[in-house]
Amino acid sequence: MTADLGRRSRKERKVGVGQVDDDNAVGDAELAAAFRRDPEEFQAVYDRYRRDIFRYVAGRLDRQDADDVTAETFLAAFRMLDRYDPARGALRPWLLGIATNCVARHRRKEARHYRALSRDRPEPTAGSHENRVAAAVTAQRAKPKLAKALLGLSPGECDVLLLVALGQLTHEEVAQALDISYGTVGSRLNRARAKLRQVIDQEDLHG
């Protein structure tokens, strides 16, 4: 099933490293041709990319708003179908760009979400020493600080940072998604990462 193909390739991507993912390039062109012929086929796009869109949006809004914005993203994408050109890029960056616009309409909710996270007390550590769990525990401890740092980013910096970190887009794909230059992606990302580094320390990164 095409949806499974999408999920498998997502697990292999590394966060933040500029890996180009061609796994779905052929799939997207086929999907686009299919839904041009028959709009009903757009459901296949929802099936394939819903999880990725939700993962990105749920990092920016609380769960109920994230459910709404995920659905809104696909509705908006459907209304703009004729603006998607497979030659200019894959579906995922296009959809994440639309999702970013939807999130932008909820800036106050996003700020409220991060303020809530920044006030949370770090959760008590779990007993296990396994690497994967330790990373998650470390991240949970750092979450309030990270949320506070996100509040200090400009909208543009936040969009770029989270498209890379949560959306797992390359710099080129971020440029496509936000319709900005490749150079702007780099400079915004650098500023955002620098602001993050100011609030986190070695202990946060290495447990």
Binding site: F42, F54, L75
Partner: protein, 316 residues
């Protein structure tokens, strides 16, 4: 790990609930082939095999209120309930009753439709879409069931728009004043409805427009009467005999449009099987409610989570 991996892990969330996934899929499905106004598709046809199922839909979900006839009652030409009338008799009777019905009054035009997708849904609990259109054009919608949230349905709003009785064609939203001034002669009304549905072939545009007007819009009595007469003049309309809610009629065409018309009250509910590109998309739909009301249920506001305290919002 680096700070990006830390961020990704910290903000990682479990996937959506199955209900949320399904809700999103349904909203998209409605936009693709359902009531969202820019995607109203041509009407459908089929054999009489659908009739039993369609009638079952109406039987299961009926419970509607509609315009009430005046105490003077229906014209003498209406046959006794349960008798079989010809299609033309049904439509002409309804055309007279329409003149005699009060329009009702209220702040909101309330429409409730039930959707049954043949192979996926439970006919005793159909998926419903309920809209309230205020006289000034503001609009609200409730999706799925009566326990769902009532949301903003404004055409320029953030959630997409579901047809609410003020939408008359692919991109034609009328004001209440314009609806009240629609033509009151069948020929002029037909021409106007065709002009609102230029993207469709003539027959489906006419039938869809007329049935849509009669089953779900606050068109005034003379306009409704003209619409019935326009339908009565269409060739190939068959009578299906008495069904729950009135008399069943089958319109001609490549698609299967079944109507239920109550000749005494002029109330119309429709059961439609939509087909696009030869593929059936819907099992059917029925209009449960189409009336003026003063009641709008409480409109949903976003939930505040347990860790949040209400605060004066500040800019980032």
């Amino acid at each position: 790990m680096d700070e990006l991996q830390l961020l990704a892990t910290a903000l990682d969330e479990p996937d959506q609930s199955p209900e949320a996934v399904d809700q999103g899929r349904r909203r998209l499905g409605n936009a693709i082939h359902g009531p969202a106004r820019s995607h109203r598709t041509a009407w459908t046809a089929g054999g009489l095999g659908l009739t039993a199922a369609a009638a079952a839909v109406v039987v299961v979900v009926s419970g509607h209120t509609g315009p009430t006839a005046t105490p003077n009652g229906p014209p003498a030409s209406v046959a006794t309930p349960g008798a079989r009338m010809s299609a033309e008799q049904v439509l002409l009777a309804a055309s007279s009753s329409a003149l005699a019905t009060q329009q009702g009054s209220g702040m909101y035009w309330h429409v409730k439709m039930a959707y049954i997708k043949g192979y996926t849904s439970d006919r005793s609990h159909p998926y419903t879409i309920e809209t309230w259109a205020r006289r000034d054009g503001r609009s609200w919608v409730r999706l799925g069931s009566s326990s769902g949230p009532v949301r903003n349905n404004d055409p320029d709003g953030p959630y997409g728009h579901y047809a609410d009785g003020f939408d008359f064609g692919a991109d034609e939203r009328l004001t209440l004043t314009q609806i009240q001034k629609l033509p009151t002669g069948p020929a002029a009304l037909k021409a106007r409805l065709l002009s609102y549905n230029r993207g469709l072939p003539m027959a489906p545009a006419l039938e869809g427009g007329l049935v849509g007007l009669l089953s779900g819009t606050p068109a005034p009595p003379k306009v409704r009467s003209a619409a019935f007469r326009a339908l009565a003049a269409l060739p190939g309309v068959k009578s299906l005999g008495p069904v729950s809610g009135g008399q069943g009629l089958l319109l001609r065409g490549p698609s299967k449009n079944m109507l239920v018309v109550d000749p005494r009250t002029s109330k119309v509910t429709g059961t439609i099987e939509e087909v696009v590109n030869g593929r059936r998309l819907y099992g059917g739909n029925a209009t449960l409610v189409a009336e003026w009301t003063n009641e709008l249920p409480p409109v949903s506001t976003p939930k505040i989570g347990p860790t949040e305290k209400p605060r004066r919002p500040s800019t980032r």
